[in-house]
Symmetry: C2
Subunit: 337 residues, 2 copies
């Protein structure tokens, strides 16, 4: 347990849950909400009624809509905004970020216009060294973490000393972080699992059972690992909490936005219909094209990501997607579908 001064930028469900982890581990946390009205509600109710109703926020968490106030003297700056908004947000915060602070990305996705991972966006947009940028990724459904159910995660930074310090800052009774230096692997695992979860959701929505679901998870992790290795990641990372762990939790849980989105696609709704009925983002719907683009640039075959992207674009139905995947010719296991 290490007491630190931490700014958490983004008061959605995961930003708020991670602020609770930090507070439980002994830090004082400034939680920034984009909307002043939400910041005011957090202060008044001492909870986040929009994203984590019923979970009290302890006094170690103070809410504000002023980024300068949140970032004042912060040793760690936790970035908890949606992936596609990270760059613009960083541009507006950069004057306030303390020069020695460690920047910690919680966002899972790939930037659409550039195909960059979140830590790469941070390095570019905030103008900091890679060794000061960390990511936290793992099987961490926000509502369960906020309820202090036991959870494990990975804190990754190219500088292992930074990862170890951050590990202490977020190690609470219920939340167990492991260190890793493979930032690339952790970020790819987190981004791609959203796309695989869409495929698993579609299988569930079409009425298929646990065998089909487990097969999509397994083959999805295999293609994610192939992309990771091509990008210089350690294949073992994908067998760990930020790869397999996160993928399994996301694909199992009815709390997962991406799996739920896929399930509705499988039941016959269109992307536009589902998007219209939900406030929260299914990041996989956005990131799939960027991941496919990355895969093509590196000549990696990713049949599941490719088929999901076609469904999202309206070029295939979910049933056509699954039969397309299943009907590929039989092969030795290590050669892909």
């Amino acid at each position: 347990m290490t007491a630190a001064r931490v700014a958490v930028l983004g008061a959605g469900s995961w930003g708020t849950a991670f602020a609770l982890v930090l507070a439980d581990a002994g830090s004082s946390v400034a939680l920034w909400a984009r909307r002043p009205a939400l910041a005011a509600k957090l202060r008044e109710c001492a909870e986040n009624p929009e994203y984590l109703p019923g979970i009290p926020l302890p006094s170690a968490i103070s809410a504000t809509a002023d980024p300068g106030e949140a970032l004042d003297r912060a040793e760690y700056v936790v970035l908890a905004v949606p992936a596609q908004q990270l760059r613009a947000n960083l541009a507006s915060w950069s004057g306030h970020i303390p020069p020695a602070a460690v920047l910690v990305s919680l966002a899972k996705g790939i930037e659409l216009s550039t195909c960059l991972r979140m830590s790469e966006v941070v390095v570019e947009a905030a103008g900091v060294e890679q060794d000061r940028v960390a990511v936290v990724s793992g099987p961490n459904l926000a509502r369960e973490v906020a309820a202090r159910q036991p959870a494990a995660s990975v804190v990754a930074c190219r500088d292992s000393g930074v990862a170890e310090r951050l590990q202490k800052v977020c190690h609470s009774t219920a939340f167990r972080p492991y260190t890793n230096t493979d930032v690339v692997g952790c970020e790819l695992g987190g981004a791609t699992k959203n796309v695989i979860a869409l495929a698993v959701g579609m299988a569930v929505g079409l009425g298929f059972g646990d065998n089909a679901r487990a097969s999509v998870i397994t083959r999805g992790l295999a293609e994610t690992t192939r992309l990771g290795v091509a990008l210089g990641a350690d294949p073992y990372t994908f067998a760990g909490l930020a790869g397999l762990g996160d993928l399994v939790a996301t694909c199992s849980s009815p709390l997962s936005r991406n799996r739920t989105f896929g399930e509705k696609l499988g039941q016959g709704l269109t992307v536009a219909e589902i998007a219209a009925s939900s406030r929260q983002v299914a990041e996989g719907v956005k990131s799939c094209a960027a991941i496919l683009d990355l895969a093509r640039r590196h000549e990696v075959e990713m049949p599941i990501v490719e088929h999901v992207t076609s469904v999202v674009r309206g070029e295939l139905t979910p049933a056509e997607m699954l039969s397309g995947l299943v009907s590929r010719s039989a092969k030795p296991e290590r050669h892909g579908w």
Copy 2:
């Protein structure tokens, strides 16, 4: 699709479901049931009312309680009896097994008295060469396979030519087998997943959610892989369908005996109470001690298998087991719990 003459020895749920796969793929199948009364029921009802009620058996499947009749001119002999009974059964069948037949193990477990894998038991007890022994293992919940839901699996044999021939014999529209030459990895994946599923079931029974479950699955696969590597298996096998895939299906499904058994342990029942209320075997309850024994002989740390074995022996409660696992000190991810 290849028409072959196949004996399936064992008419439980998985033996019967695999007989359906073989028949769908074009073979003629003799399905042996230990009890003459069950064999007679299979013939009369053209279904297996005890293990797969409601699923019709096609005419390509003939049922018998006579092993000599079942094994007559069989090109493939599929062994679908419980792991701990395989040796005794093989002894009684050995005079009838055609000399050129390929023996295919479906059993998932480790022999208690010897710590041998099933294919090793086959080599010893049937006196055949390793290159004629294959295993089939993957995310294959019997009821879903019998319902022709899409499923994938691994057929493994040290001789890749034998694996390819067997692949053709069991490749149907709904069942998709991949080949692998890593018999050790496939068998260990199948045996150990039953023990990990007990741990996951206990977490569920204690009221924990998807984060905890995904973490136990991830760390469980990591310790299984460590044991496999020590025994000469290919680590990639554990990331495949016979490792990760089977583990995820077993740990997700309410149809899984081992997960269900663990869930009841988590709810406070004893091993004796649960065993008394169920006819089917939870293989993990038997195999855990043999796997722990193997791990100790090879000096591999397997904390989850160790803790599960203690619960099965009544030395720890499920709650003590989980808090014991969670309270281990924080580490880099690759170094285990």
